[in-house]
Amino acid sequence: MELVTTLFGAILGTVKDVLPIAAIVVGFQIFVIRRPVANVRRLIIGFLYVIAGLGLFLAGLERSLFPLGELLARELTDPAFLGAGPAALWKDYYWVYIFAAAIGFTTTIAEPALIAVAIKAREVSAGGVSVWGLRIAVALGVATGVALGTFRIITGTALHHYIIAGYVVVIIQTVFAQKSIIPLAYDSGGVTTSTVTVPVVTALGLGLANTVPGRNPLVDGFGLIAFASVFPIMAVLAYAQLAKWLMAFQARPRTKGE
């Protein structure tokens, strides 16, 4: 019975998310474009699928992954588990880093918004960008970002130093990158942090800020999402660069040996 309530709540939430979009689209369609839409029936069915799908997805997450993810985040940051007193060094938190990377990677693979962008990217690049290539590159970026973000919370260093350094790296990579990949790479920073990643990663940040001595959850608990949005840009640019080098390497005329 409880499941039904959760499910109902989640679907209601999704409907509330869709309503403003539907109102804007319908309003512009009627008052500005003034043309009937092709395939209205198909569109409506598609929207119903989206609402039902996202509702089920969120209800399922609330019953399974969110509680377990939050529980794990609490347990792993528990001083009793870490077996170290207030004198714990940043090295003693190694399970936290491993968990942060693993959870960052896997939640990103499950992120529906990223799946959507990857499908579109493959479509318009005529297969040049593979769905899984993009998703794995982005997920590796998030994994690195979240792990580094937990390190920042544990050491208590300033967030903006890391993010500004990240921007500098992104700008340098942009200078050398293939021009066509740049917009997609920048987009991938924004799409990674949504439905699945944000709640679990936020719980991890708040849990850490609560248990690490000297951290204030109000101030230090934030910032993991920021890491998770800068590092995928680097990862996608690096992936494109690597693919280019590999291609140049394979195309190189083989003179020596062989």
Binding site: D17, R35, G46, F57, V117, V170, K179, G190, T193
Partner: protein, 240 residues
């Protein structure tokens, strides 16, 4: 039937890794049994089903809608109305975004703790609402700039690097308590429904305008939408 089975399998592949990670950590690192195993299984089933429906709905509903709106505006040829639509879409989808409401509430608590605002419910909810409106305005502005860029065919990197510079400069002047929230707000604004719709809109526009390449010019709207909130939130923190 076959197709449904295949998409169910692919959803299972998308969600398998995360299930594996939480179970392994729980059993091998924490060494505790999994609480509510039945819940985990039932929830996992719902998640897999949900993702399958969502991906199907993307291709039937969200993608075609975004693209057909783009084509309709391109045929109409009115840049003015296109930009108004872009703003409405950005503002309208963000202002009610649950993740943003949550972040704005937390930000108000931080501001109250830092004595920027009076520590009572009224002042806090006014602060949170102001923050939500400024983030929604920033996303509306971002989609307008992004659409305008597609129309003009400008390279995206100059605009984004300009945005980064603005963030770096403002970080130096914004109250330190707001910086963490501002940086995070860039990531939370783009929801799972907005992303496919806005992406399809950009690609539709780029493919209906002569001389634009859907791949090179169509992407980039989300990038703006995750950049401008940081600027606007820091500005909000500086003004209040």
């Amino acid at each position: 039937m076959n197709q449904l089975l295949r998409s169910l399998l692919s959803s299972l592949r998308d969600l398998g890794p995360i299930l594996l990670v939480v179970t392994l950590f729980q059993l091998l690192v924490i060494r505790q049994p999994i609480p509510n195993l039945a819940d985990l299984l039932a929830g996992g089933l719902l998640v897999v089903l949900g993702l399958t429906f969502f991906v199907r709905g993307l291709e039937l509903g969200l993608f075609p809608l975004g693209e057909s709106m783009a084509y309709a505006f391109a045929r109409k040829g009115s840049v003015f109305w296109l930009l108004i639509f872009a703003f409405a879409l950005g503002f309208g989808t963000t202002v009610a975004e649950p993740a943003l409401i949550a972040v704005a509430g937390k930000a108000a608590n931080v501001a109250a703790a830092g004595n920027f605002i009076a520590d009572n419910i009224e002042a806090r909810s006014r602060y949170a609402l102001g923050l939500r409106i400024s983030v929604a305005l920033s996303v509306g502005f971002a989609i307008v700039v992004g659409v305008f860029r597609i129309l003009k065919g400008w390279p995206i990197q100059y605009l984004i690097i300009g945005g980064y510079t603005a963030i770096v400069v403002m970080t130096a002047f914004a109250p330190p308590e707001i910086v963490g929230i501002a940086y995070d707000s860039g990531g939370v604004t783009t929801s799972t429904i907005t992303v496919p719709l806005v992406t399809a809109l950009g690609i539709g526009l780029a493919s209906s305008i002569k001389g634009r390449n859907p791949f090179t010019d169509g992407f980039g709207l989300i990038a703006f939408a995750s950049l401008t909130p940081m600027v606007f939130v820091m500005a909000y923190g500086m003004l209040i």
